[in-house]
Symmetry: C2
């Protein structure tokens, strides 16, 4: 069987031919049973597995004018690896459900596979794509399941924060949100439709914020470090610090009091910008913070507000809710 | 917070409100950490987990004129539970990634959750939805990840069939395919668009074939029985017996010789009809078949053809390949 031309639409290939092109890009499986059977068999270090799924949909979650297929594969992996890391677990395997129009070029699928693999190699070495599913859809959709091993540790939940704990974060806050603002302000046409990104138009800072949005690299190995240092609660910041801190406060039955002076030059974007996938954790005040974490506030007993910023309730839009905030008509 | 009206579009609700409606339907979690944290924590009986994902997309995989939301949830669970059972494993958890238009009514989402739960309760008692993801999409898409426990057994792969083994099957073959034919022949309009099903037009047999297509109930508990009886290879028949037997033969490096006289009154539909999710397995000729399995052929050494039917290569269309067979223009 000769290789198809890179521009060949997947609709002209069999499922087996498409799969073979993907599997060639994914590298060796680390599992007893990897891709190709009815299911994969994944090994964990104890009798528990951490499991999460997150979906990227063309339109609400990415635009092909802005994201390369490599970026898309990378981000689909990264956002799920972050959820595993936020439990204090070590990512061990991804399953990828790819639904795509049959006009999609095979080279697009190959680059997406390259991005999945590169994100695993950089953010969670030892983790690989071990299974998946191909489907036809009018809407390009990438649903990634990530599995992780706790290696004998207890999972770190959202619900464990206690009054007196230190609130801390590892990774950037606000950069990905500023990158998204740049995309909407600089790379859309008069009708609001996305236009290709011209990096030459951007300053160095803007480029790095764009990369934080399109190809995020949160410090995921610090999730295990936080668990080992005694973190009482942890989650990744996917929808904005205030909104996600509100969720942690609600799950824990406490108030998270944040200090905006710890949030850098642009505290408002740090408080509201989503998609950085930094790790938000709480630590007992009696222990040293895990390496890579910086304090941003303290846990207080529950009161009138789940989150306080500089002692007052936050007065702005606190983050991104996909069902309230996405208008498909503007896609 | 008062309950929303059943007709409320999800676009008018927050993600938290939609999630609460779903979680209310799913029943108690059987896991140490169920829905609500960054990831679920699933317990298995040993240090391995079986993991698979399969996606149903509106258009190629289901039509809302034909499938109720309950049917859709049921089928999305069933096809994934079948993949776990076909490894000889016990399903323990599902993760559900639901991407839907924001015009979707909340009652639709609730019925879909009811169908997911009912399929777990009937086909794989003890398995429940333990996590998931909600996304906005123009195309209704349900991607289900199923996780299973091997309980100390070796997984049964596609690659273990050996010359001399008996080929056997558990569950119906062809019924779901005949149900699909009925839908296309009887419940489409002049343009080919699907029209609502009127059960009063159908004979008893036709109704049961329709149910096999829309709400399949393969005998999944027999997967463990097959593993315990010494099955050398196993898979579920999702794309048609000849096509799936060809895959097993290729993985095992053998020929599967089928006897059409064992395939009932309509051997052609048994050979080519997809979506029954019956279990296809091979057993050493020296052991008794697992209960519920019936012999349909024998394994031979590899030859010119991966599959023989009554001693000759099969001369028809052998099954369903989504990339070659689905024309989105006819959706």
């Amino acid at each position: 069987m000769s290789d198809p031309h890179p521009d060949t639409p997947v609709g002209e290939l069999s499922e087996g031919e498409i799969l073979r092109r993907i599997l060639d890009r994914l590298g060796p499986s680390g599992s007893p049973v990897g891709p190709g059977d009815d299911a994969a068999v994944i090994t964990t270090a104890d009798r528990r597995v951490v499991a999460t799924v997150d979906t990227l949909v063309h339109g609400p979650d990415f635009r092909l004018a802005w994201s390369s297929p490599f970026d898309l594969g990378w981000k689909a992996a990264a956002v799920n690896l972050a959820d595993v890391a936020a439990m204090g677990a070590r990512p061990v395997a991804l399953l990828v459900a790819l639904a795509m129009p049959d006009s999609t070029r095979i080279s697009f699928v190959e680059s997406l596979a390259d991005g999945l693999r590169a994100a695993c190699d950089e953010l969670a070495p030892g983790c690989a794509v071990e299974g998946g599913d191909l489907t036809v859809s009018d809407t390009l959709t990438v649903a990634v399941t990530a599995l992780g091993s706790l290696d004998g540790r207890a999972p770190v939940l959202r619900s464990g924060a206690r009054p007196g704990d230190v609130v801390a974060v590892a990774g950037a806050l606000g950069a990905a949100g500023r990158g998204l603002t740049t995309l909407f302000q600089r790379f859309t046409d008069a009708s609001g439709a996305p236009t290709p990104v011209d990096l030459a138009q951007l300053a160095v800072d803007e480029r790095s914020e764009l990369e934080a949005q399109l190809r995020p690299s949160p410090p995921l190995s610090l999730g295990i470090a936080a668990a080992e240092a005694g973190a009482t609660a942890m989650m990744d910041v996917s929808d904005g610090l205030v909104l996600d801190a509100t969720r942690m406060a609600a799950a824990s039955g406490v108030c998270l009091a944040l200090d905006s002076r710890t949030l850098g030059d642009d505290p408002r974007s740090a408080l509201t910008g989503g998609e950085d996938h930094a790790l938000l954790a709480t630590f007992p005040s009696t222990v040293a913070l895990a390496p890579g974490f910086r304090p941003i506030g303290e846990v207080r007993a529950a009161g009138d507000h789940a989150v306080l910023v500089d002692g007052a309730p936050f007065d702005g839009r606190s983050g991104w809710d996909p069902y309230r905030d996405w208008d498909s008509g503007s896609g």
